[in-house]
Every structure is written in structure tokens, then in C-alpha cells.
């Protein structure tokens, strides 16, 4: 299969993809790194020279920094908990014999395919609007005062919206994993006398452990980068500024490129840490 002629052909064929991705990664990253060490304010003078690690220090010592870290942790953590918990339950439900399973799957998967701007705006206006939203109608029906979701319960709102979007992903992955569980293992444990909770705890959950880890890692990487949902609902107000959003604001809104770039590098490092764990698991599966 692998002869000299096919090896050289292979190298040429890989080249375009490798070169493109290398460029895509290195060029902007190097530039960001460069900017992070300079004071650069395009609206107020442009490139103002080398400042060493000044931006890095200022970024973490800014008053918005720790709140944004907190916000990020709450949102990511909240979505993870909701999607994994309900994902497992939903996956187990969908694995049961029932009628119309195919259609239920479609219903459950659908939110993932809705573009983030649509889901954010639909939730914001049609559901969460304190005057005309469905929740408002519902609250009023029960005689309660409607909640001003995006201003009073902003983090919960964002978590709700994002969880709704990502629950299908978790469910689908976990369902695939459950279906790969050898039925005979469960039967064997039943013959060994395990009841339904024990079977869940000793057989199903350990089997799912790997899939749950994957879901957590992949979702974390994507959740750290949530943007559109915040952009179109609160614009970062009411304490919904995540680390990514903070960086975005520094860069595109206040146009403090040096500061924003330093923040960007922090974000890259953070993402890489999560990615290392994920890649290790993926790597174990590859048998190239």
C-alpha cells in the first residue's frame, strides 16, 4: 500500500490543506501576539509603541476582568450541568421502545440547527419580553408579576437559551453512546441480581463516562466562545459579559487593540488547555 511513489504523491496532496490551516493559525495569531505587546489605539493615535507585558497586567487587573471570569464560569458551568443531566435522561428515554421514535428524535434535535441569532431573538422577544412575551402571559395567568428576564435574570436567561440550543447535541451524542452499550452486559447484570438503579450506576453510567467527558470538553470549547446570543440580547449588559465578550468589546467597541489582543492571547491559552485534554482522548481513538 505504501510505496515510495505513493508517499511522495501523498505529501503533495496534503500540502494545500496544511498550508492553508498553518497560515490561518499562524498569521493572525502572530499579529495578535504582536499587538498585545504594544499600546495600539487606532482611534486615538494608532501604534504608540512597545509596552511589554503592560497590556497583560492591565487586562487582568481591570475591574471588568474577574466579573467576566465569573460570568463565564457560571454560564459555561450552568449550560454543562443542564445539558449533561437532561441529556443523559433524555438519551435514556429515547432508547426505550416507543412509537414514533424517529419523529421524537427530530423534535429533540431541531434546536441545534437553528442559527444562534434566531434562537436568541425568538427567546428574547417572543418568550422573555416582559410585556408581550409568552412567559409574561403565563406569569400573569397565574397572577404573578412577569419577570424581566434579560435585565433581572440575565444570566439565567442566557443559560436557558444556550442550554436549549445545546441540549440536542448532548442528547444525540449520549444516545449514540447508550446504543453502543452491549445489551448483554445489562442482561448479565440483571442475572447477577442488580436492580434498575444499580444497573444504571454500575453499568450504564460508567459506559457513558467517556461520552460525557467528550460532550463536556467539546461543549466547553464552543461555549467559551459564545457570542451571538449575548450580542443580540443584552449586548454584554446586566452582568452577562463573558471573557470572550469582554475581549470583543475591547477590540471592536472601545478599540483598544493592545489590551484586547492580550485578552485574546489569554483566551487562546485557556482554550488550548481544554483542547489538550480533548485531543488526548481523540488521539487514543485514532489508529492512523
Amino acid at each position: 500500500m505504501a510505496t515510495q511513489s505513493s508517499r511522495s504523491a501523498a505529501r503533495i496532496m496534503m500540502a494545500p490543506a496544511v498550508i492553508l490551516l498553518l497560515g490561518w493559525m499562524l498569521v493572525p495569531l502572530t499579529m495578535t501576539l504582536w499587538f498585545s505587546f504594544r499600546k495600539y489605539l487606532p482611534l486615538r493615535g494608532g501604534d504608540l509603541g512597545w509596552v511589554g507585558f503592560d497590556n497583560y497586567v492591565r487586562f487582568v487587573s481591570s475591574s471588568s476582568f474577574w466579573p467576566s471570569v465569573q460570568t463565564t464560569l457560571i454560564i459555561v458551568g450552568g449550560v454543562l450541568v443542564i445539558t449533561v443531566t437532561f441529556g443523559v435522561l433524555l438519551a435514556m428515554l429515547l432508547d426505550q421502545p416507543m412509537w414514533g421514535q424517529g419523529i421524537v428524535r427530530i423534535l429533540v434535535i431541531a434546536p441545534f440547527f437553528v442559527m444562534p441569532t434566531v434562537s436568541a431573538l425568538v427567546w428574547k422577544n417572543i418568550f422573555m419580553d416582559p410585556v408581550n412575551g409568552l412567559f409574561a402571559h403565563l406569569w400573569k395567568f397565574f397572577g404573578a408579576t412577569p419577570v424581566e428576564w434579560l435585565s433581572q435574570a440575565s444570566l439565567q436567561s442566557i443559560i436557558m437559551i444556550v442550554s436549549w440550543q445545546w441540549l440536542p447535541f448532548a442528547t444525540l451524542i449520549l444516545l449514540t453512546a447508550i446504543q453502543s452499550l452491549d445489551g448483554e452486559q445489562l442482561e448479565a447484570s440483571e442475572m447477577d441480581g442488580a436492580n434498575i438503579f444499580q444497573r444504571f450506576g454500575y453499568v450504564i453510567l460508567p459506559h457513558l463516562a467517556r461520552a460525557i467527558t467528550i460532550v463536556v470538553l467539546i461543549q466547553t470549547i464552543f461555549l467559551l466562545a459564545i457570542f451571538a446570543e449575548i450580542f443580540v440580547t443584552t449586548g454584554g449588559a446586566f452582568g452577562t459579559k463573558t471573557l470572550s465578550y469582554l475581549i470583543f468589546q475591547r477590540v471592536l467597541e472601545s478599540q483598544n487593540i493592545g489590551l484586547g489582543s492580550a485578552g485574546g492571547i489569554y483566551a487562546v491559552i485557556l482554550a488550548n488547555i481544554v483542547a489538550i485534554f480533548l485531543m488526548r482522548i481523540v488521539g487514543k481513538n485514532l489508529d492512523a
Binding site: 500500500m1 505504501a2 510505496t3 515510495q4 511513489s5
Partner: protein
């Protein structure tokens, strides 16, 4: 036309030496079988000849000219793979026509040759079906048809019968042997089954761990195995080996005797033993006998013999057929 010569051929995968220097002559028209246990390198050797792998060192000559660096498509060889490797998206006709299409023959010529091959192999009935709709034996015939139609200098078979059930295997063995008679083309056949090797080969190459243990005709290997390994590998059921006192008496560290060369009697013989398991095949009975001072021996007896578990038996080995092996395992 179809002579192949390997000179000092080696193959390594990274640090691992899979084939140690091998020299081999294959004459035109011979049916050569590469046989050996799993991992001995027989398939690798075949693939080196085919050109699907590069040799690490050494040369391969086809018809007297150096083919070591020539790509597989240009070596004039055809291969039948273990899994048949038929093109699933093409009909049987298109599968067989493919090599001719690659050789840029014109459509009329291609049709003629395909129909010819189909007739020879009895494929005409399902020539327009797809591989997915065929049985194992039919697929194998298509694979052979695809090879035949190229009129190669030699055919390479990589364990073609392993995926078939036992009954079919027997039939296909005959068909391939008959094909060899008809076409008179060189055939190199790889198998781990020594029965296939013995029944089909003109010449057998026994391989172990990338080294040729012995080359010879089936009968040669049967009668004069060069070492313990070949002696124990060729022949079914396996040769019996004994060492210790009985071997010393015969003058060698290890002796061997085939089950069919030991006479069994209920009353008289040289060695006395107790019958353990007896396997009744109808035509023969194989008795596993625990012989005092020798060990467990497998003995072939007539199917009608009345010896069962626990009975006493007397064995007499044929003195002409005892094989002696020295301390390093080589035949003496």
C-alpha cells in the same frame, strides 16, 4: 514467460525486520505455494512480488529483467485478494472489464475477452449483477475472472479460500488446480492451510518468521523434512515427537514418527501404552495413546479397529520412517 527470481530480498517495517534475506527461484508455469503460520511473512512476500510494497533491499526479477522499482500496474502480474476486493459499485461485467479498460483496449475487444472469461468460469448467468448480490464462491470466481482477463505472466493468490466454508473450499481448490492445468501460467499461492499446500503445489515454500525453512515438492517435504519445524508443520495430523530415553536409544536427541507410520495391535508390538481419546472418522480412527517411557502418541488405525478409552494397545513404529533430529532441530 512467467519466471520470477528473488535475490537477497529483505523487508522491514520501521525497526521490525519482517523478511530476512530471501533467495527464491520460481520457474515459468510452476504452481508455487507459500505456506507457514500467521505472521511468517508469506503475504508480505507476495505483496513484494506484486509491487504493492517496496523491498527494503534486494532485487526482484520478472522474466529475467529487474522489476524491483516497477509499479504494480506495470509488472504484468494479476492478484486475487483474500477478500476478493471486487468493486462494489460495478457489475460483474464491469469488474472484469476494468483492467482491460485501464489498458485502453477498445470496447469490442473488451467485450470479447470478458465474455470469454465469463464462459471459462461459469459466470455468464450473473454477469450483470453486483458483487453485493453474489455468494462467496461466485465472488471468488469474479475475482479470478478479473485476474485471468489480463493474461498475466503470473497469478498471485493471497489466501483466496480462507473466507469460504469447508465444503466450498474443497470445490474451489479443484477448480483452481484445473485452471492451472488449462492456462499453464505461473501461480503463486499463499495459504496457512498445509492441506491446500500439499494438494495444489508443484513446489512448496515453507516460511517461518521471515525465513525460508525449506523449499521442495510436497512429497519431498513429507518424506525428508529438513528440520523440526517443517516436520511438524507438514502432514495432517502432525508428526509425533519424542525426546528422552526412547530418543537416545535411537541415537538422536529428538525423534519423530508420523501417526500413519505406526502399527497398532491389541496383542503384540514394541511399545505398550494405554488408549486415551479415540477419534473415529469412519475411514480411519486416530488413537491418542499414552506410551510408557515415550509420551502421548497420535496413531492412525483402521476405522474398524476396536480399541477404546482405557484399553491397552501395542505399537510398532516403522523403523524406516523414523525421523531423527539433532539438538538444534535439524534433521539428521
Amino acid at each position: 514467460m512467467g519466471s520470477i527470481t528473488l535475490k537477497q530480498v529483505t523487508k522491514s517495517f520501521g525497526e521490525v525486520d519482517v523478511i530476512h534475506p530471501i533467495d527464491l527461484e520460481i520457474e515459468d508455469g510452476e504452481f508455487v505455494v507459500f505456506v507457514g503460520p500467521s505472521g511468517c511473512g508469506k503475504s508480505t512476500l507476495l505483496r513484494l512480488i506484486a509491487g504493492l510494497e517496496d523491498v527494503t533491499s534486494g532485487t526482484i526479477e520478472i522474466n529475467g529483467s529487474d522489476a524491483t522499482n516497477i509499479p504494480p500496474a506495470k509488472r504484468g502480474l494479476a492478484m486475487v485478494f483474500q477478500s476478493y476486493a471486487l468493486y462494489p459499485h460495478m457489475s460483474v461485467r464491469k469488474n472484469i472489464a476494468f483492467p482491460l479498460k485501464m489498458a485502453k483496449l477498445d470496447a469490442a475487444e473488451i467485450d470479447r475477452k470478458v465474455n470469454e472469461a465469463a464462459k471459462v468460469l461459469n459466470l455468464s448467468d450473473y454477469i450483470d449483477r453486483r458483487p453485493g448480490q453474489l455468494s462467496g464462491g461466485q465472488r471468488q470466481r469474479v475475482a479470478i475472472g478479473r485476474a485471468i482477463v489480463r493474461e498475466p505472466d503470473a497469478f498471485l493468490f493471497d489466501e483466496p479460500l480462507s473466507n469460504l466454508d469447508a465444503a466450498l473450499r474443497g470445490n474451489m481448490r479443484l477448480e483452481i488446480s484445473e485452471l492451472h492445468q488449462t492456462l499453464a501460467t505461473t501461480m503463486i499461492y499463499v495459504t496457512h492451510d498445509q492441506v491446500e499446500a500439499m494438494t495444489m503445489a508443484d513446489k512448496i515454500v515453507v516460511l517461518r518468521d521471515g525465513v525460508i525453512e525449506q523449499v521442495g515438492s510436497p512429497i519431498e517435504l513429507y518424506k525428508n523434512p529438513r528440520n523440526l519445524f517443517v516436520a511438524g508443520f507438514i502432514g495432517s495430523p502432525n508428526m509425533n515427537f519424542a525426546s528422552g530415553k526412547i530418543a537416545e536409544e535411537m541415537g538422536a536427541p529428538t525423534i519423530g514418527i508420523r501417526p500413519e507410520h505406526i502399527n497398532v495391535s491389541k496383542s503384540k508390538g514394541s511399545w505398550k501404552g494405554t488408549v486415551g481419546v479415540s477419534e473415529h472418522l469412519g475411514s480411519d480412527t486416530f488413537l491418542h495413546i499414552d506410551v510408557d517411557g515415550v509420551g502421548m502418541l497420535n496413531v492412525r488405525a483402521d476405522g474398524e479397529i476396536d480399541l477404546n478409552h482405557g484399553d491397552t494397545a501395542w505399537l510398532t513404529p516403522d523403523p524406516d520412517k523414523i525421523h531423527k533430529f539433532d539438538a538444534s532441530g535439524m534433521a539428521v
